[in-house]
Each structure stands twice: as structure tokens, then as C-alpha cells.
């Protein structure tokens, strides 16, 4: 509650994310039509009582597709963010804890991964792996790894010098145990901040990949792909085809960005404003 009063923007972001989560969870309850059922008699219909947000060129209900799209978007977004952050986090933890040459080499390798534009890397990855949901998740998670490793490593570097770590070491606790039991739990703050910040871009990359035809395959209704098939050909006749899925993507990303910013300010004051 205090969070909501102090960070109205963050609370708004949290509300948007909660809305998305509920939509994804209860998609079957919220839908008015089968999201993949086509209807030749009602193609490109406008907004009406029957079809709340109109229909697409195959007569599929846009509202129901957007509701189910939330699930695809959230699953891919959360899964790829978690996968990338956990892998990157472990790399950052070990690299920061061990230090020395290992750290130096790891940093250079991460430089290499980070040198490529996120989208380009994801594009090449998903093209190489082929169109399937799990491949898209892997493709989006890879560019997140170096970013996650950086963040965790820098917080490990400061925690490593703390006295309680020295105490644990003098008690003869093994290195791996120190790293995972004593250091890891203290990086949870930056880790949460990192995840919320990356979630927005993961959702955005999924939408972009699907838009380009390299993302989540049929029959899953994906917001990005809804824009690709409808885009050029039917946009003039039925602008709602372009507007609604785009608004859905923007709100989802906007929500996670707002929440990420507010969480960063609250949990990790050192990064404030950056």
C-alpha cells in the first residue's frame, strides 16, 4: 500500500501486469469465441456487440485472440526472462566469486554476446532453431544472459568483501556453499529488478519475431503475428486489426517497464535514475 502511494507509476505498472496475468490465467473464461475458429460469414467485421473488437480476415474474434495472446506473450516472456536471468545469474555469480583470469575471460565472452543487437541475435537464433515455442524462448533468453551476468556479478563483487563472508570462510565453509548459500540470497534484490526490466523487452522481442514470421507458430494466437497477417493488406479496410493487438503489446511492455523502474528505485537505490 505504501508502495502504491509513493510510486503511483509503479503501482499502475503493477496493476497492468496483474491484469495481464489474470487474463492469461482465465483466458478460457474471458473469451467470447473460440480464438482459432474461423467464420467465413463474418470476416473483417468491425467492433460490435457480437465481436467486441471485431474480427480478422478469417473471421476470427479479435478480442478472444487478444485474451489468449496474453497467455502466449506472458509464457514466452516470463520463461525466456527467467531462463536468461538464471543462466546469466549463475555465470555472473561464479565469475564474480572466483575472480581472476576466469572472470576476465568470462567478461570478454559476455562482451561478444552483448556486442550484437538483441533483436538481431534473437532473429538469427530463432531462424537457426526453427519455429517452435520452446525455440523462441531459448532464442530470446540468449541475449539476456550477458545482461543478467553483468548485474549479478557487480553485486557479487561487493558482497564478496563483506565480513560475514570472511567469517564463513574462516569457519571452513566450502567455496560453492559460500557462493550459493551466503552470496546468492543477497543478490535477490538486483535479480528481481533485472527480471522485471527484461520482461518488457522479452515481450517486445517475441512480438517482433512473431511479426516477422519467426516467432510462435500457428495455431497459438500471438499478438505479434496478429499484426503481421493483418498488417498491410487489410489495415485500410479494418484499422482495428492493427490497433488492438498493438495496444495490447504496448500496454504489457509499458506495465512491466513502469513496474521495473519503481522496483529498481525501491529495491536497489544504487541504480536509481540510471
Amino acid at each position: 500500500m505504501r508502495f502504491a502511494r509513493k510510486k503511483p507509476l509503479g503501482a499502475a505498472g503493477g496493476f497492468l501486469m496483474l491484469l495481464m496475468l489474470l487474463t492469461a490465467l482465465f483466458a478460457e473464461v474471458l473469451q467470447t469465441h473460440d480464438p482459432i475458429a474461423t467464420d467465413a460469414t463474418a470476416t473483417l467485421a468491425g467492433v460490435s456487440a457480437e465481436h467486441w473488437l471485431g474480427t480478422d480476415h478469417l473471421g476470427r474474434d479479435i478480442y478472444s485472440r487478444i485474451v489468449h495472446g496474453a497467455r502466449v506473450s506472458l509464457v514466452v516472456g516470463v520463461a525466456s526472462t527467467l531462463l536468461g536471468s538464471v543462466l546469466g545469474g549463475i555465470i555472473g555469480l561464479l565469475s564474480g566469486y572466483i575472480g581472476g583470469t576466469t572472470d576476465l575471460v568470462t567478461q570478454r565472452v559476455l562482451d561478444i554476446l552483448q556486442g550484437l543487437p538483441l533483436l538481431v541475435l534473437a532473429l538469427v537464433m530463432s531462424a537457426a532453431l526453427g519455429p517452435a515455442v520452446h525455440n523462441v524462448i531459448v532464442a530470446i533468453s540468449i541475449p539476456i544472459i550477458p545482461r543478467a551476468a553483468r548485474v549479478i556479478r557487480s553485486s557479487v563483487l561487493s558482497i564478496r568483501e563483506m565480513q560475514y563472508i570472511e567469517a564463513a570462510r574462516s569457519l571452513g565453509v566450502r567455496h560453492l556453499r559460500i557462493a550459493f548459500r551466503h552470496i546468492l540470497p543477497n543478490t535477490i534484490g538486483p535479480f528481481i529488478v533485472l527480471c522485471t526490466a527484461q520482461l518488457g523487452s522479452a515481450i517486445l522481442v517475441e512480438a517482433t519475431l512473431s511479426f516477422l514470421g519467426l516467432g510462435v507458430p500457428e495455431p497459438y494466437p500471438s499478438w505479434g503475428r496478429m499484426l503481421s497477417v493483418s498488417a498491410a493488406e487489410y489495415a485500410q479496410k479494418a484499422p482495428h486489426l492493427v490497433m488492438f493487438p498493438g495496444i495490447a503489446i504496448s500496454l504489457a511492455v509499458f506495465g512491466s517497464n513502469l513496474l521495473g523502474d519503481a522496483l529498481r528505485d525501491t529495491l536497489d537505490p544504487r541504480l536509481r535514475g540510471s
Binding site: 556486442g115 532473429l123 538469427v124 519467426l214 492493427v242
Partner: protein, 317 residues
């Protein structure tokens, strides 16, 4: 300074070398090779022909031979041959480069023109309604997919002005005005997105500088707010901003990939997407490497600029 430059150049070269390994390996992950893909589109072809084509393309050799061959090609400026066009890759790519460069330059310009002033205003009016509005405006830009923003711009033009932007590329020598309009719209879409990062860093960096002693001195001297902010504060606050503009370049290319596709502009980024969709791997491999080189060079340039902008940053050596 000299030792520092050499040091940085060596690191940049090593990074590029590592990147070439990553790119090469990633593209070898693909299930099935180019011959399978060519054959599946051509229908049934005999095994002998298949081996012959593999030999011709050189993909029957071990990976490491192929890798070193590719490296040699890059170093000699030979970008190989496109499978799809049966033409040297460079011949196809060359006319696309100016289009992307023009878009990138214009987008960066818009990003700075939108980002810096809004960041300054936001910092000066910290925690006011205006500050909140500007921050929401910039975060909104970061949240909208670049391709969607482009589509909405086109849709808006068609609906309200009954005007459709040219669907194919117009050269500046053909019709300079139409060319300008054609480029301004996508650059605005990409620039708005990129401006968000610049705005944020300008805001936070200016806020930090405004707390310094010498700014208080400037106020105490009775100088007007405008002079203090634009002459004294912003000058020092720009350092991190320049870094972000450099880093932004990678971000920008990501935006161009889809924006060129939506606006149907024949640039490098759109071509990369097409090459990926057609599985024209030699082209993809070289284009991604090309992008990596541009990104690394721009980062290097930014680091060099640091020394020029801030005399306190003296490079060791």
C-alpha cells in the same frame, strides 16, 4: 593516449574474432543445410547432384576449414556469393548501405533532438506534473513495438490525409521532396523509441550535476537559470549521454530491422530479415558480422570521444 588506442583496437579485434566464432556456430545449429533447402524447393534431385552442389558451395569440407575460409574472405573484403541470387553478396549489399545509413543518421538526430531537451526539462522540473508526463511519454516510446508505431503512422496518414506514402523506394535524385518524406517518417518512429534512453540518462545525469558546488557558485553569481543549466550544467552532464548515444547504435539497428520492413525501404536491415527467411546463410553470416563491426567501431569511437569531451579522462600509458 597512443598506447590506449592500440590497446582498445586489439581488444576490439579480439572481440570481433570471438563474434565471428559465435555467428559461425549459431548458423551451423540450423537443422538441415542449404542444399537440403534448395532441394526441397526444387523437388527431387539425385544424390550425385547433391554432392556436386555441396562441393561447389564448399560445404562438404570440415567446419574448421569453412570457418578459416570465411575469415580469409572477410579479411580480403570478399563477402562470398548469395545462394538465392547467384551473385556476389557485396554487389547486392552495396546499394542498400546508403539507405540504412541515412535512416540511422536521421533516427539518431531525432533521438537526440527529442531526448536531450525533454531530459533537461524533466530534470529542471523534477517531480512536477510536467516531469511525470515527459517520463511517461518517453517510457511509452520504449514500450511501443517499432513496427507497430510505423504501421500506425502509415494508417494515420491514410485515414486523415488520404495520402499513402510511396510503397517503393524513391531516390533523392528522382524526387527530393518525396524522398525526404519517405525517410522522415520511419526515422521519426525509430528516433522516438531511441530518445527514451537518451532522455532518461540526460535527466539523471543532469540531476546529479546540478548538485555540484560549482553550480551553486554559478547561481550565487546571479546567473540566470538558462545560462546555468545550458552552459554550466549540461556541458558536464553530456558525458554519459554521449556514451548512451554510442551504445544506442545497437538498439537502433534492432529498430531499423522492422521499420525498414514496414516502410518497405530497401536497406541492409530489411535485407537481413529477408535473407534469414530465405535461409541465405552466407548473406546472413556476413551481414551479422558487418553489423557487429559497425557496433564495435561505434563503441570504440565513443570511448575515444570521452577523452576529447572530458579532459579529466586521461588515458593511461
Amino acid at each position: 593516449m597512443k598506447t590506449y588506442v592500440i590497446q582498445r583496437l586489439v581488444i576490439a579485434l579480439l572481440t570481433l574474432l570471438g563474434m565471428s566464432v559465435v555467428i559461425f556456430t549459431l548458423l551451423r545449429l540450423a537443422p538441415g543445410d542449404i542444399v537440403d533447402i534448395l532441394f526441397s524447393t526444387a523437388g527431387y534431385v539425385s544424390q550425385d547432384e547433391k554432392t556436386a552442389i555441396m562441393k561447389e558451395l564448399g560445404i562438404d569440407r570440415p567446419y574448421w576449414v569453412q570457418y578459416f575460409d570465411w575469415l580469409r574472405q572477410i579479411l580480403t573484403g570478399d563477402l562470398g556469393k548469395s545462394y538465392r541470387y547467384d551473385q556476389p553478396a557485396w554487389q547486392i549489399i552495396r546499394p542498400l548501405v546508403p539507405v540504412t545509413l541515412e535512416l540511422a543518421a536521421l533516427s539518431t538526430l531525432f533521438a537526440v533532438l527529442i531526448g536531450v531537451p525533454s531530459g533537461v526539462i524533466s530534470a529542471v522540473r523534477q517531480d512536477t506534473t510536467l516531469d511525470y508526463l515527459l517520463r511517461v511519454f518517453s517510457l511509452a516510446g520504449l514500450s511501443m513495438p517499432a513496427f507497430w508505431l510505423g504501421m500506425v503512422i502509415i494508417l494515420g496518414l491514410v485515414t486523415w490525409f488520404a495520402w499513402i506514402p510511396p510503397l517503393s523506394y524513391v531516390s533523392p535524385f528522382q524526387d527530393a521532396k518525396l524522398h525526404a518524406v519517405q525517410f522522415l517518417l520511419p526515422s521519426l518512429a525509430v528516433g522516438y523509441r531511441s530518445s527514451a534512453l537518451i532522455m532518461r540518462i540526460t535527466r539523471s545525469s543532469l540531476l546529479e550535476v546540478m548538485r555540484e558546488d560549482y553550480i551553486r557558485t554559478a547561481w550565487a553569481k546571479g546567473q540566470t537559470g538558462r545560462v546555468v543549466i545550458w552552459r554550466h550544467a549540461l556541458k558536464n552532464a553530456m558525458l554519459p549521454v554521449v556514451t548512451v548515444i554510442g551504445i544506442e547504435f545497437a538498439f537502433l539497428i534492432g529498430g531499423l530491422v522492422v521499420t525498414e520492413t514496414v516502410f518497405n525501404l530497401p536497406g541492409v536491415a530489411r535485407f537481413l530479415v529477408q535473407a534469414i527467411l530465405w535461409r541465405d546463410y552466407p548473406i546472413v553470416q556476413n551481414l551479422v558480422m558487418f553489423i557487429a563491426i559497425v557496433v564495435i567501431l561505434s563503441n570504440l569511437l565513443v570511448d575515444m570521444l570521452y577523452g576529447v569531451l572530458d579532459p579529466r579522462v586521461r588515458y593511461g600509458g
